[in-house]
């Protein structure tokens, strides 16, 4: 018998229940023997092979249909919808409690959602045990597809987390239903060892909280009065996030420059708890690279009035020009940046040379 024929007979035996595979192969052998008496051996062998593969194809097709029909689609789809709602709820909660994680492409967000996915899969498995595992397979397919078709820039940790967290959570939820003690013990051990090995994060000075309102993605409209008195209006996006283990904040803004080009700059904000001083530096990247030391030990100041923050920049050497930046925070989702300018060393101020109204990006 040829190798591929042997494999076909083995597959048939696997796909049919005990005894049926043997009976089917017996029927084929019986028919082949009958054909050999009235036809050539070669023709009978050819018929046998053709019939074997026809049977294999039919069994595969019918078994696949049975499998698809047996899937509790209603439960799986309902569980998927619940996971979707849970993700929106988690995003909403995170945007208020931990804004830097509240990003759709954040790997950490996915990891934080892990316990919830386990719970939803566990609930689905109470209706039908297989639902949790099919949910996991479906989540894996969807995550893989989304990673392929997305036009957003996504990090490798996010790709890994999206392929692991959802599907693994669903499978663990299903296993938890089947073997609750074993899986719960394993999960508890994982949490305990994970917590023990996690390093205590460096605690940034509390003063940095004054700029915590910057964290997140912001969209807004800016107005700048040019030296010739003309007012230009432009859209702007502003993004703030913690850097250096949460000890500093970097926020960057981008939008069209008054000359029509692109303006991109980033500000680094840190409070030096030992020297008791702020360090704020602004790096303009486009159109030209320039670094401004706005506040440091030798110049500039910061004052906090309620939720509002006023930054007076260190004066450039040899000029009387002064810049005062006002961050006027109305609530968690809205704030205004107002830049005042003085040409006489801070005696009189031209308020609102630039005003940018910002709203949290959805």
């Amino acid at each position: 018998m040829r190798t591929h024929t042997i494999w076909a007979t083995r597959m048939l035996s696997c796909l049919l229940r005990d005894g049926d595979g043997t009976a089917l192969l017996g029927d084929l052998a019986e028919e082949r023997a009958r054909r050999m008496t009235r036809d050539s051996r070669a023709n009978a062998a050819r018929w046998y092979r053709r019939e074997l593969y026809r049977s294999l194809a039919a069994v595969l097709r019918l078994r696949s249909i049975e499998c698809v029909r047996a899937v509790p689609w209603g439960i799986v789809v309902a569980a998927y919808v619940v996971i979707g709602l849970y993700e929106f709820a988690a995003m909403w909660l995170l945007s208020r409690t931990w804004p830097e994680v509240a990003e759709w492409t954040s790997a950490l967000r996915l990891v934080l959602e892990f316990p919830g996915i386990i719970a939803i899969a566990y609930a689905a498995a109470t209706f039908r045990r297989s639902a949790a595992f099919i949910l996991g397979a479906l989540m894996l397919c969807v995550a893989g597809l989304l990673n392929i078709v997305t036009t957003e820039t996504i990090s490798t940790p996010y790709i890994v987390a999206s392929l692991v967290v959802g599907p693994l959570g669903a499978v663990l939820g299903g296993l938890l239903r089947r073997r609750p003690i074993i899986v719960a013990s394993a999960l508890a051990l994982l949490v305990v060892t994970g917590s023990a090995s996690a390093q205590e994060p460096f605690r940034a000075p509390q003063e940095l909280d004054a700029f915590a309102f910057l964290i997140g993605k912001w969209e807004g409209a800016g107005k700048t009065r040019l030296p010739d008195g003309k007012v230009v209006e432009y859209p702007i996006t502003w993004t703030g996030h913690y850097i250096l283990d949460g000890t500093a904040i970097a926020d960057d803004g981008r939008g069209p420059a008054p000359d029509g080009g692109l303006a991109v700059g980033i500000t680094f904000r840190q409070y030096d708890g030992i020297r008791k001083t702020w360090i704020i530096e602004f790096l303009s990247i486009v159109p030209t690279s320039q670094l401004f030391r706005q506040v440091y030990q030798g110049g500039g100041s910061i004052s906090v009035q309620g939720r509002n923050v006023i930054v007076i920049n260190a004066p450039p050497a040899g000029t009387a020009r002064r810049i005062r930046e006002n961050y006027l925070v109305s609530d968690n989702d809205n704030w205004v940046y107002r830049l005042d300018e003085s040409m006489d060393g801070g005696t009189s101020w031209n308020e609102g040379r630039t005003v940018i109204t910002l709203r949290r990006s959805k």
């Binding site: 049919l16 009976a23 089917l24 017996g26």
Partner: protein, 112 residues
């Protein structure tokens, strides 16, 4: 019409069940397939016959037993099938429904 716990038959199941009924005590894979091919003019693979029979057995429509192994079958046993009372009821019910639905169709044809 029908009750909730009534077993519904697919076309393939209906055909295979009728073939098993016709063959009586000699109903096994090869003869069932031949019967369907000769009477119904429908060429079914052995695989399709066995999957259908297995599904009907799980529904309680047929029961099976293994026969003795024979040399012409390469030492493999036959699996004989027999229609259960439930299977007979299912066939009868389908025939009734099909008959009721077909009644009057011939008479009305051509009158419109």
């Amino acid at each position: 019409m029908g009750t909730r716990d009534e077993v519904l038959l697919g076309t393939l199941e209906h055909i295979v069940l009728l073939a098993v009924l016709r063959l009586g005590s000699d109903a096994y894979g090869a003869t069932i397939r031949d019967e369907i091919e000769q009477r119904g003019g429908r060429a079914m693979s052995f695989g399709a016959v066995y999957v259908t029979l297995q599904r009907m057995e799980s529904k309680g429509l047929v029961r099976s037993r293994l026969g003795e192994p024979t040399a012409e079958r390469g030492g493999r046993a036959k699996r004989f099938f027999q229609v259960t009372a439930e299977g007979r009821r299912a066939v009868r019910r389908v025939q009734e429904v099909v008959g009721a639905m077909a009644t009057g169709l011939k008479e009305s044809r051509g009158t419109t």
